[in-house]
Symmetry: none
Subunit: 213 residues, 2 copies
DNA sequence: TGTAAAACTTGATTATAGTCAATTTAGTCT
DNA sequence: AGACTAAATTGACTATAATCAAGTTTTACA
């Protein structure tokens, strides 16, 4: 019996003492779910979901009913801080894209915990700050007038983030195009165009950024 | 008239009551620094810096060691909201390019405040959650393919938020167009088009939404 | 490994929205 | 109130990217 603490997979809890981790762990409900299971929907959203093992995606539905991917989730990721804190969710879904082990932490339990433990509150503040950073990045990207500019800024960001001019696109073009507010076709064209201009060297999702864009 | 609270410039604190803001303000160090002073570096970045008066620049070092300016900072700007909350900075620098008056809030002080006042922590958490919600809303809007859809969803959102089919646009068209990822001209056209179609009734920034969009 | 399903690419066409420029309208200040 | 400035509207034109469709490549899985 390996006493796996699933909260340990979450950076948010990882730096807590083992005792605190056990405290949190006691509040958590463990579940094994099949690929395709929707674990968060507007009707059922007062919870934090931690992915102990598996993959998923966070998306919303547009007016036209199309899925718009906002984040790709993988082992150790978590989602639902805003819902835990009482923000009502009217349009977000989390769907597991593989069979997964997940942990669910309900709002009432968690609120009590952070009231009693300020160090946990601080960690949560940090996590939210990082997310705000990401979302600001995205709104900034999507606000740029041309797709070329959006792609250039995105690639530059990847270079800075991964610390190398050889970067790996972390998303499928389909999802990346959604992230950048465009279509897979246009994105594909822009990438081949950069390739022809000698600005990047691409093989699949491996891209070497040759010139600063 | 009102005493200057430099923390008021930061959205994170803007949501706190004025008394709470004063509490935070007491933790702030005011400094006058000479042109060329580096006030944030990877070694010294656990802080929020607000520019009371002066100019600066935020930059990173590229792999080749070149400075890459990311933002130009001026009076009233701030940087490091996320660093204050624990996001680690491994590559950013802030250098003042003129003699400047700045406010510095160190993470250690801020952390103590949070630890002693869990109600502030909860307020900040809720405020950040709301901010995340807004940003998600915006990314969803900007991801929609047509301006018409974006505007329709935005108006529907306003109706829900203000609880009436008679809504007031909270922004100038210039700003709203930026928010929706378009131009003032296009936005103006779309609004007059909705007017002609009998879907809305507009006078200035007062809009009655006649049909669900 | 072989097969099917996704993902991606490429082309032709269309439509949408951006740009530039000229007016009109609203807001502000003394 | 009148004059000035900023905001909004309208028009003509252009460019960009979306769409539709057909192919190719990659990935997943039996």
């Amino acid at each position: 019996m390996t006493e796996e603490l699933c909260v340990r997979l979450v950076p948010l809890f990882n730096q807590l003492s083992i005792d605190r981790q056990r405290q949190v762990e006691q509040l958590v409900h463990h579940q094994h779910v099949r690929r395709g299971t929707i674990v968060v929907s507007p009707n059922n959203s007062n919870r934090l979901v931690i992915i102990e093992q598996g993959k998923g995606r966070l998306y919303q539905l547009s007016a036209a009913g199309e899925e718009q991917v906002q984040r790709v989730l993988t082992t150790g990721d978590y989602v639902g801080e805003t819902w835990l804190l009482g923000v009502t969710n009217s349009s977000s879904y989390v769907e597991m894209t593989t069979d997964s082990d997940i942990c669910i932490l309900d709002r009432a339990d968690f609120t009590r915990l952070i009231q009693n433990h300020s160090d946990i509150a601080l960690k949560l503040l940090a996590g939210q700050a990082a997310m705000i950073d990401d979302l600001r990045q995205q709104t900034q990207l999507m606000g740029l007038p041309s797709i070329e500019e959006r792609l250039a800024m995105y690639l530059n960001h990847l270079v800075a983030e991964q610390g190398s001019t050889l970067v790996t696109l972390p998303l499928k073009l389909k999802d990346l195009s959604s992230y950048l507010g465009t279509t897979p076709e246009t994105l594909s064209r822009k990438l081949t165009q950069l390739q022809k201009n000698g600005q990047i060297d691409r093989h699949l999702r491996q891209i070497r950024v040759l010139k600063s864009l």
